[in-house]
């Protein structure tokens, strides 16, 4: 992998992903489980947990890169718009820098909805062994 390389993937926050996250981590805050409550906070309906996206990132790093000998050193994420059940997200990642001395690669990424709305972005630093 080298600076400038780009990778993309499509993820869908569907019912199995949503309910699996709740069953695993037990975050049943009404913002994530109650449409009426979420609407009272100004959202369209219940908002998907932001950390579901981190699960997609984990899958991307572990399964979609050309090398399997990878591990995450740091990961940053900023959320810019809510994600709702059924949303399809286009994930795009670009290698920004390679630190050959320690086999570390910097990646910047973003998640966008199909209408182009950016919902999250950030940086990941991965090590290669």
């Amino acid at each position: 992998m080298k600076a400038g390389d780009n990778f993309s993937r499509v993820f869908v926050v569907d019912e199995p992903v949503y309910s699996g996250f709740i069953q695993t981590f037990h975050d049943t805050n009404p913002l994530h489980t109650n449409d009426e409550f979420a609407r009272s906070m100004g959202f369209k309906s219940k908002v998907m947990h932001g950390n579901i996206l981190n699960g997609f990132i984990s899958y991307f790093i572990g399964e979609c890169l050309p090398q399997k000998n990878v591990f995450i050193l740091t990961q940053e994420i900023s959320y810019s718009n809510p994600v709702y059940i059924g949303d399809q997200l286009n994930f795009s990642a670009t290698i920004t820098e390679v630190h050959e001395s320690v086999n570390v690669t910097d990646i910047k990424y973003k998640f966008s909805k199909t209408d182009g709305t950016k919902v999250a972005f950030g940086k990941i630093k991965i090590g290669l062994r």
């Binding site: 050193l73 001395s101 570390v104 910097d106």
Partner: protein
Amino acid sequence: MSTSNTLEQVNVIFRDVLDNDSLVITPETRADDVEEWDSLSHIQLIVNIEKHFKVKFLVNEIREWKNVGEMIDCINRKLPA
């Protein structure tokens, strides 16, 4: 850049990466002297130092460092005069 100035900046990076606000490193400091300085944090230190000083190290250079002083010397050799 003077050795003390470089050491000062490297100390800030060490504190940030190792999450230890009271850490004070000296040229004699070795990895064994700092509890948080393990193999993964070592990688983080190198990456952050490369970014901060806009330098690139060679694998062999890193392997030869015996303490912070040798790291500082290596950084200073790569900085513009």
